[in-house]
Each structure stands twice: as structure tokens, then as C-alpha cells.
């Protein structure tokens, strides 16, 4: 079967992320560092979560317009602590055509670059796919656990599946340098639990 290269890239990225999580003592020690469990803070930078550049700070020019998204962790630039102590801190960063973004999304974007929580708000599964939407021809985030889809051009609103609400956005900024976090998550990160 023919593989969509962008989709494949994101999946591989996701797997590699996991590999980082699972590895060794240095990572464990880092996850125990003060601040590693805290949610992303204003002025944090974003670092690649996996791949050849894992741990390196993400710059706008590292991202190709149209995706695929990269998985990232926030990092405190003062302490150098990567905030990967909680899986709820993982984010998806994708560069899109700014003209495709709605006004609210554009207000949180750095150019066309937007970031969202990588944890599905339905039951907490990781979002691992970048695929054509079930009801359209544009690529969207997909949680393969229960098939929820989110459009990153419209504040990651739900376009398919059982997810009850949009993915929390992480506002970004980029002033001739690396991507930085402009504000805390917009909305509750993680799954909806009992209602």
C-alpha cells in the first residue's frame, strides 16, 4: 500500500519520541528535575522531541509549510530543564499557510506556525497521525485510538469523531529567533474524564 510521506513521517516521529521517553538514566534524571512536570511557561523555547535533532531548539526555518508536524517539548531557557516529566506537556508544532488560518488561530501563531497539545481530549491517547480529513481534502491531526480529527487551521476544532472539544492551543512567538511560548495553554490539557 502506498504510504503518504507526511503521515509516515509523523508516525515515525512519534515512535522516535517514545524511544526518547523510554531511554535511560539521563532522561529519567531530567524528568525528575524541578520544573519538568510544570506546564509550558511564557518564554519557554520548544525543542525537538525526537529524531536526529532531538533536544535541539526549534527555529521557524526548521518547519516546512504544510507539515508534517513535529513533536516537541517545552524547555525552560533559564534552567535548561526540558518539561517532559509529564506526557501532558508534549505538543505538536506545524507550519501552515497563514492565509489558511482563521483569525483566532492566527492570533496565536508565529507566522503560520501553530502549536497544540499532542494529547487527545477524548480519552488521553497520543495524537499520532497527519492525514486527509474524513470529510475533506486537507491534512488534519488524527488520534487513531478513537478516530477523532482536529483542524489546526481553526483552533484545532473537532472535525470528526468523538472528541468533545478542541485541542488546547499553545500560543507562539518568534522574533527573528527560535520559537518561544507566548502564553500558557489555552484550555484544559488532557482527556475529559467523568462528566
Amino acid at each position: 500500500m502506498c504510504q503518504d510521506p507526511t503521515r509516515r513521517a509523523l508516525i515515525l516521529t512519534a515512535l522516535a519520541t517514545g524511544a526518547c521517553l523510554a531511554s535511560p538514566q539521563s532522561s529519567i534524571a531530567e524528568e525528575d528535575s524541578p520544573g519538568s512536570n510544570e506546564r509550558p511557561q511564557k518564554a519557554d523555547v520548544l525543542v525537538f522531541a525526537e529524531g536526529d535533532h532531538a533536544g535541539e531548539v526549534i527555529k521557524p526555518q526548521d518547519l516546512k509549510t504544510g507539515g508534517p508536524p513535529v513533536r516537541a517539548w517545552p524547555k525552560d531557557p533559564k534552567t535548561s530543564v526540558v518539561r517532559k516529566g509529564s506526557r501532558l506537556n508534549e505538543v505538536l508544532v506545524v507550519r501552515l499557510d497563514p492565509a489558511e488560518l482563521d483569525e483566532e488561530t492566527r492570533s496565536r501563531a508565529a507566522g503560520g506556525i501553530v502549536a497544540y497539545s499532542a494529547i487527545c481530549v477524548h480519552t488521553g491517547c497520543p495524537i499520532t497521525a497527519w492525514v486527509k480529513a474524513a470529510g475533506g481534502d486537507k491534512d488534519v491531526f488524527k488520534c487513531v485510538c478513537h478516530n477523532s480529527e482536529f483542524d489546526p487551521r481553526q483552533s484545532a476544532q473537532v472535525v470528526f469523531g468523538p472528541a468533545p472539544r478542541r485541542l488546547p492551543a499553545l500560543p507562539l512567538a518568534a522574533d527573528d529567533g527560535p520559537l518561544t511560548v507566548a502564553a500558557t495553554f489555552v484550555g484544559k490539557v488532557g482527556a475529559q474524564q467523568a462528566r
Partner: protein
């Protein structure tokens, strides 16, 4: 404050947080004894399938083929929870306990629907719920037992819903979770773990019902030096799957628990060469020690994600001129199994395909080992298609056996094939480990298929199909219940219907549209001389997954199945 006092204070405080009393507590609760569990009163439903033998049969006949047309809802109760509601309402002398996704238990007056109390588990924010569901609560004395998706076993006071004890079973961050209804045998609470898609080593474990202390734990995959370990290569056994995520059945006469086990991990068979004992098997366990008495493996070197976790029914079967103490299991691997349970062995008696399959070329007559077509076996680096799909001929929803008709009623799925491309994937604790990309999993209707879901009635004595009812636009994903009123009760379709069929003829006698789709198990019970039928409606999990996979492939498929759980209770209009 002494440490012990501090811990007790903490426990009480958390109890207040999670147990919400409405009209409770329950007055005059009937304690559950070993004798009552062994011989449950006809009006009660205290086991997953009502009785230890797992037949899913109610001896109540007040509601029957002549009056079922007058069946009407008498009360409903909205759980307020979304996702798949898969649990049978549990009934103990007028009290109903309902378990829902997200770790809730609701105690209701079974006659009126009034709420006594509700327990709400406070699940961790970072929990990864691949299968957000729960299949029911076990009962013992004045307590009940809930297995949770954050991998705890919780004992609740049946009268108040307050936590009596809470034991961590394993670590949810490592992909371990629980969705099954606990099996209670002589003061032991027995559960098995989920996580076959996350690289776990399966197990069945027993706890003391009064204290929560672990009594024994039997791994479904043998470790180094244990019998069966030779069927694994290298360290594959450490992460080989074999999860045991459905309630077992029990033979009190021989003191033997029969427990089903799941697929080998990851999916492609060439990633774990060997027969891979004891995955995709039924295990015979001593409930006192956990010692494995014997086993039967339904298929070797599982490569298709075919869990065989639905425990076989225990039936005294008249076949070939003798009474066979049988185990009956319509398998996810598409084979309808008749086995004979003996003290030290499980013998193959007969097996036949009950839906279309292209994987098996036959069954070895002596061993019962199925013969695989290698072209239909998934491997690394190649797209392989096979029938039935990875959801199998029948997934976890249970079949039923009627003691009146002698027939077995199977919620089957016909004409579904599927496939995937095997891929080497590194294992990361707590993350999906399938051996393929999840979005690469295919589900394909067979060309010319006229239907998908199929309620089947089989005669296990002859191997002949007595009747079937086909569903042209839906799969069938719900457990079946049989009653002495010659009724077969089942939901499971995407049109939100709950149905009653004539057990002998298959005639559709009654149907009622509900709020959502029904994945839950129907039950029959009696209070103050009136018989009721109850079921939870609440679509989600794999029923939803299959439906999503079919969108665009089946013209006219109903895809608008709203989620949200409701307990429906019916009686005959007087």
C-alpha cells in the same frame, strides 16, 4: 499523628470525595455468599454471565414469546457518561449496580430506578485510555469490586459506595489497565490485565476479598525455566502480550477457573517466532493457588490480533452418544470450538468455521491445531490481507447457550476482511506497540457482501446452523442473552435497536430504538414477582472504530450513532 492514623484519615477523606450518596444507603442488603454465587436465585444476576458456567441464560420465563410484543420501558437512567457502556447491570435482590466508562458505579433501586449512591473514580489526568470502558462489578458478602482503567482494584461497601480498600494492580504508565468484571470465587477476587497492544506480559491475579492483599499471580506467558517458555524465542516472552482482559468462568465441581488469553505482541508473527504459549488460549487455573492445571491454544503464533479472551461456556453437551463436559467457544479466529474439559487436559472435540475465513486450511484432528495458509499470515515488510478482519468472526461480546433449545447464539460478523503491513517498531513502555502503523489497519467488506452483522444459532451437538438473522447495514457488536421464555436478546447494531428474537425460529419478535447503540449485555431479573429486562445503551470503543472504518465503504451505512449512556429497563405492559 501516628502514620497509621494519618493514612486512615486520608483514606476516609478520599472516600468522601469519590462516593456521592443520593437516596442511600441501601437498607436490607442481601450479603453474597459462596453458596449464592454457586447457585444464584433465578431472579438475580450476580455474575458477568449470570452463572459461573458463562452461559448467559436466565431461567425466568414470565416474559416470553407470546407477550414480548408488549414489552415497554418502565424506567431509564442516564449515566451522564460517554463512550462504550459494556457492563451488564448486576442485580442482587432488588438492588442494581451499574458500571460505566471512566470508573463509575451507580447503585439503583432495580424496581424504581431511584439512585442510592454513585462512586466516581478520580482518574489521573495523564491516563492513556485505549479502551475506555468497564464490564461490571463483582459481589462478595457486603462488598463489590471494581477494576479500573488506571489499573487499580477497588472494594466498595455495597450499601454506601464508600471505599473499603484500593489496591494498585500494576502501573498504568506502563500500558497496564483493567476493564473486566472481577470474578469472585470463595472470597477471592480474580482479575486479568489488559494491554496486549502495549507490549505487556499478561497475567491473572487473585486478591483477598476482605483485605485486598494479593494472593497469587499467574503470568499467561511462561518465564525462563517454566513449561512453555521454549515456545518463545529469546526475551520475546517478556513483552509478548497474552493479556487476559475478560472475566473467566468457573467449574465449582472441579474447582477450576477457565480464563481466555489474548493475542501475541506485536502483531506480525515473524516478530515472535514459535507457538507462543499461552497466548490465544484458554487456561485452566486452580483458584486457590493460581496453578495452571492445563490449557488449550486456539491458534499458535498469533499474527492477526485475535484475542481469545471471551472465556468458553461450560455446557454438559450430548454429542456422539455421550455426555461431554464441554467448553464451547466461538472464536475470534472464526472457528467454533467444541472442547472437552478433563481434570488434567482439555481435549479437542470438533471445530468448524462459523464465518468466512481464508486463513485456515483445516484443523489437525488429534491436536485441534489449526493449519494456517502462510499467504494470509501478516509479516514484516509486506501488506497481507486476511478474512475475517482483526476484529474476528466474533469479538469479545459473548455468545449465549439456551438450556431449553440446546442452541448456542453467536453475535457474529460476516464478510469483513482486513489487513496491515507489518513493521518493526521499537517498544516504548506505555505506548502502542502493534507492529504496524495504527492508521494502516484496513477493514474491507468482501465483494458482493449482502450483510455484515449476523446473529447465528448453532446446534453444538451436530455442528449445524439452526437459523441466522442478517444485518445488511451494520456490524453486530453486542453480547447475547437467552431466557427460558425462549427469547434471545441482543443490541449491537448501529441503528440503536434493542431486539428480541424467537430462540427456536429466529423470528424477530420485538424491537425498541434506544438513545445510543447497545454494546452492553442484556440481563433478565425479577423484583416482587415482576420480571424485567435491562440493558445499557452507550456506543463507543471498538463498535465505533469498526463503524468509522466502514464509512465510505458501505453505501447507506448509518454513521450517526450518538454517544451517551442510559440504563434501560423493560417490563410487559399489564
Amino acid at each position: 499523628m501516628a502514620l497509621k492514623q494519618w493514612l486512615l484519615s486520608g483514606l476516609l477523606a478520599s472516600t468522601c470525595l469519590v462516593s456521592i450518596a443520593a437516596a442511600g444507603p441501601i437498607e436490607n442488603y442481601s450479603p453474597v455468599t459462596a453458596e449464592r454465587l454457586k447457585n444464584p436465585e433465578p431472579g438475580n444476576w450476580m455474575h458477568y454471565r449470570r452463572t459461573y458456567d458463562g452461559q448467559g441464560y436466565s431461567p425466568l420465563d414470565q416474559i416470553n414469546t407470546s407477550n414480548v410484543k408488549n414489552l415497554v420501558p418502565v424506567w431509564t437512567f442516564s449515566t451522564g457518561v460517554v463512550e462504550g457502556h459494556e457492563a451488564p447491570p448486576i442485580i442482587n435482590n432488588g438492588v442494581m449496580f451499574v458500571a460505566t466508562p471512566m470508573g463509575q458505579v451507580i447503585a439503583l433501586n432495580a424496581k424504581t430506578g431511584d439512585e442510592y449512591w454513585r462512586y466516581k473514580r478520580q482518574l489521573p489526568d495523564d491516563l492513556f485510555q485505549l479502551h475506555p470502558t468497564n464490564r461490571g462489578v463483582g459481589l462478595w458478602e457486603d462488598k463489590l469490586y471494581l477494576a479500573t482503567t488506571d489499573d487499580h482494584l477497588v472494594a466498595l461497601d455495597a450499601k454506601t459506595g464508600k471505599v473499603v480498600w484500593d489496591t494498585k494492580v500494576q502501573d498504568y504508565k506502563k500500558g497496564q489497565y483493567l476493564t473486566l468484571m472481577p470474578l469472585v470465587v470463595d472470597g477471592k477476587v480474580i482479575v486479568g490485565g489488559s494491554g496486549g497492544e502495549l507490549g505487556v506480559r499478561g497475567y491473572v491475579v487473585a486478591f483477598d476479598a476482605n483485605t485486598g492483599k494479593e494472593l497469587w499471580r499467574t503470568f499467561t506467558i511462561p518465564g525462563t525455566g517454566e513449561p512453555g517458555n521454549e515456545t518463545w524465542k529469546g526475551d520475546d516472552w517478556k513483552t509478548g502480550g497474552g493479556s487476559a482482559w475478560m472475566t473467566g468462568n468457573y467449574d465449582p465441581d472441579t474447582k477450576t477457573v477457565y480464563w481466555g488469553t489474548g493475542n501475541a505482541a506485536p502483531w506480525p508473527g515473524d516478530t515472535h517466532p514459535g507457538d507462543n504459549l499461552y497466548t490465544s488460549s484458554v487456561l485452566a487455573l486452580d483458584p486457590d493457588s493460581g496453578k495452571m492445571k492445563t490449557y488449550f491454544q486456539y491458534h499458535q503464533n498469533d499474527s492477526w490480533d485475535w484475542d481469545e479472551v471471551d472465556a468458553p461456556m461450560l455446557v454438559d453437551l450430548q454429542r456422539d452418544g455421550r455426555t461431554i463436559k464441554s467448553l464451547i467457544h466461538p472464536g475470534r479466529n472464526a472457528i467454533f470450538w467444541i472442547l472437552e474439559r478433563k481434570p488434567d487436559s482439555i481435549k479437542y472435540v470438533a471445530g468448524w468455521p462459523f464465518v468466512h475465513t481464508d486463513v485456515w486450511k483445516g484443523i489437525e484432528p488429534e491436536s485441534g491445531k489449526p493449519i494456517v495458509d502462510p499467504a494470509r499470515k501478516p509479516v514484516i515488510g509486506k501488506r497481507v490481507e486476511f478474512c475475517p478482519s482483526l476484529w474476528g468472526g466474533k469479538d469479545w461480546p459473548s455468545a449465549a447457550y439456551s438450556q431449553k433449545t440446546g442452541l448456542v447464539y453467536v453475535p457474529a460478523n460476516e464478510n469483513f476482511c482486513g489487513g496491515f503491513t507489518g513493521e518493526k517498531v521499537p517498544l516504548v513502555a506505555g505506548q502502542l506497540w502493534l507492529g504496524t502503523k495504527p492508521e494502516d489497519i484496513g477493514l474491507t467488506p468482501r465483494p458482493g457482501a449482502t450483510h455484515f452483522g449476523e446473529l447465528q444459532a448453532w446446534d453444538p451437538a451436530t455442528g449445524k446452523k439452526a437459523w441466522s438473522h442478517n444485518f445488511p447495514k451494520s456490524h453486530l457488536f453486542g453480547s447475547v442473552t437467552a431466557t427460558a421464555g425462549d427469547l434471545i436478546l441482543v443490541g449491537g447494531t448501529n441503528d440503536r435497536m434493542f431486539r428480541a428474537f424467537h430462540a427456536k425460529t429466529g423470528e424477530l419478535l420485538w424491537e425498541q430504538k434506544t438513545n445510543s447503540g447497545i454494546m452492553g449485555m442484556p440481563i433478565a431479573y425479577e423484583v416482587d414477582g415482576t420480571q424485567y429486562i435491562a440493558v445499557q445503551s452507550g456506543w463507543g470503543v471498538d463498535a465505533q472504530r469498526i463503524q468509522d472504518a466502514l464509512v465510505g465503504k458501505v453505501p447507506g451505512l448509518e454513521n450517526n450513532v450518538p454517544q451517551g449512556g442510559v440504563v434501560w429497563v423493560f417490563a410487559v405492559r399489564k
